[in-house]
Amino acid sequence: MPNVTNEEAKAEVPVFANPADTPSKGALARALDSDIFHSFLKSKVTVVAALGTIILFLLAFLAPWIAPHDPFDLSTISIMDARVPPVWMEYADPRFLLGTDDQGRDLLSGIFYGMRISLIVGFCSVIAAAILGITLGLVAGYVGGRTDAIIMRIADIQLTFPAILIALLIDGATRGIFGALDREVFSFYILIFSLALSFWVQYARTVRGSTMVEKNKEYVQAARVIGIPAPIIMLRHILPNVTGPVLVIATINLALAIVTEATLSFLGVGMPPTQPSLGTLIAIGNDFLYSGEWWIAIFPGLALALLVLNVNLLGDWLRDALNPKLR
């Protein structure tokens, strides 16, 4: 093949090649031409879900700039505006599109800010769970023997219990230990800690499985022979080759973490009312459901359902797209 241009040669580089080896423009062009992107465009539901996810993420993270009101600015909140219904109902106030909650905070702005907190907790706990799970999985798979047996037995035992129960127990125990600490400050960290400890098992199992396959391949043996220390082999050589499935688990777990966080907050052991996540907003609204002020609970709930549905759809698609059996 004498007259193959440089561009064409690059296009033949397989998708799993190290992106650092090729210039960024070629990488983008390659990504747009990949199998995965084609399967993405083929599935209309996925395109809609991706758009929905992007819009919701933007609304959440740009909340301070686009929300019509600042629910944390006490000077703009008036108790006189409390429990105003959405604009299309009687006695509505045009300033508040979706009505207000029990303290006169604009519900739409509250949902934007709440979604932001839900997403931050979700992302942080997914990252924490992934770091914990990947580390333990790499060690278990690479070292093997007794270390492997102990880590995997712990994982087995934990899998017997639903994550929500573990999160509740850890939350309760942590608050028993740090009972004296300020809840407002620490509930965020306690929440992430309990969610991470509830979700690490899946990562550990997957990474362990792929690590056991990778560690017998020649490149790892070569690295070992030239005397590279084990931690560096795990991090720099094996880790990049086992991250594909981790991405899928992380996407699906993000939806799960958001739901679990909302549930814990709804149950009163998650985010406090001063930093309300979507779950906290629903918990606040639940008290007013019976007196006919349904919007305080229902709108944050719909926002939560929409967010989780979109992320779930993306996760489902990603799982199928990266699964070679289904291609």
Binding site: F161, I164, R175, V259, Y290, G301, A305, V308
Partner: protein
């Protein structure tokens, strides 16, 4: 068979010992039993005497053995909040939780199986697609929000069904109470059972559908059709029977998570069961109740897993061959 059962039993016992160790750590070190039993004005000497009397100065292994012994006799100490033995509190609340869990499992099976069969047999019909979309939404909606929606629709707006409590209950035997014998009790069960069972229902539906799609393609079904057997016979005698093995396993395993998720449903509907008590214990850091709940649910899960494993072994002959 016996070897398999013994191996499984040994594993189950190890799990229980680990969980007991956790529960003991929680009980003994996170909550200080003495602090909760005495007032502020109790002197240090009196505290020390109480400590000695309770055996809190004994070596840790001795204390752990004592903890297991009393737990085996269903003695979990005294609740911090209620000043009552934890076991009495649990006994009073177990019937409510079990009744709710049983009814929602029944709902999930009774609705999920027919929906799954239909969606598996009529893959392209719009009703099946509707079922699938609804099930996706059902999986994405958090349990507590489903409960709130149901309350809003059927209790607040239509005022058909009660939104909290068990209604009127009837005492059966010495400690069991049931709401199944009164009209208000049955009415009170409907919304919580649907809330709790909806997720399991969608799961069973998807599972049966997937299994049906797979079985329908196999040779023995084609052969049954070639023999001219009526559709009804092929679908229910031949196909359905073979889809039920995984369903039994999943249903068994899901029974555990039904009981765990009952915590959420019980909170939404103020259902006076174990889950609500556990949640209040977490909120108030009532360690004895938390550690007892941990032990009880672990025991339940481990027993269910054990039974499902054995059942699976009995139902599926292939497992026996592999082990031999």
């Amino acid at each position: 068979m016996l070897g398999f059962a013994i191996r499984r039993l040994a594993q189950a016992i190890i799990v229980m010992i680990v969980v007991a160790l956790l529960a003991f750590t929680l009980f003994r070190f996170v909550g200080d039993p003495v602090n909760q039993m005495v007032g502020i004005e109790t002197s240090i000497e009196e505290r020390e005497a109480l400590r000695e009397r309770l055996g809190l100065n004994d070596p840790i292994p001795v204390q752990f053995a004592r903890f297991i012994k009393s737990a085996a006799q269903f003695d979990f100490g005294t609740s911090y909040q209620f000043r009552q033995p934890v076991s009495d509190l649990f006994l009073k609340r177990i019937p409510a939780t079990l009744e709710l869990s049983f009814m929602s499992a029944l709902f999930a099976l009774a609705v999920g199986i027919p929906m799954g069969i239909y969606a598996g047999l009529n893959r392209e019909s719009w009703v099946s697609k509707l079922f699938l979309s609804v099930s996706l939404i059902g999986i994405s909606l958090p349990t507590f929000f489903i409960g709130i929606l149901l309350i809003f629709l059927f209790s607040v707006t239509l005022q058909w069904l009660p939104s909290f409590g068990r209604g009127e209950v009837v005492q059966v035997g010495s400690w069991w109470t049931t709401g199944l014998l009164t009209v208000s009790g049955i009415k009170a069960l409907i919304l919580p059972s649907i809330t709790l069972g909806l997720y399991q229902m969608t799961l069973i539906m998807r599972l049966i559908r997937a299994e049906m799609l797979e079985v329908i393609r196999t040779d023995y079904i084609k052969f049954a059709r070639a023999r001219g057997l009526p559709n009804r016979l092929v679908h229910f005698r031949h196909a359905l029977k073979n889809t039920l093995v995984p369903v039994i396993t999943i249903t068994g395993l899901q029974l555990g998570s039904i009981i765990a998720f009952a915590t959420i449903t019980e909170t939404v509907f103020q259902w006076p069961g174990m889950g609500l008590m556990f949640l209040q214990a977490v909120q108030n850091v009532d360690i004895p109740i938390m550690s007892a709940y941990l032990l009880l649910t672990a025991f339940l899960f481990v027993s269910i897993n054990f039974i499902v494993d054995i059942l699976y072994y009995l139902i599926d002959p292939r497992l026996r061959v592999e082990r031999a």
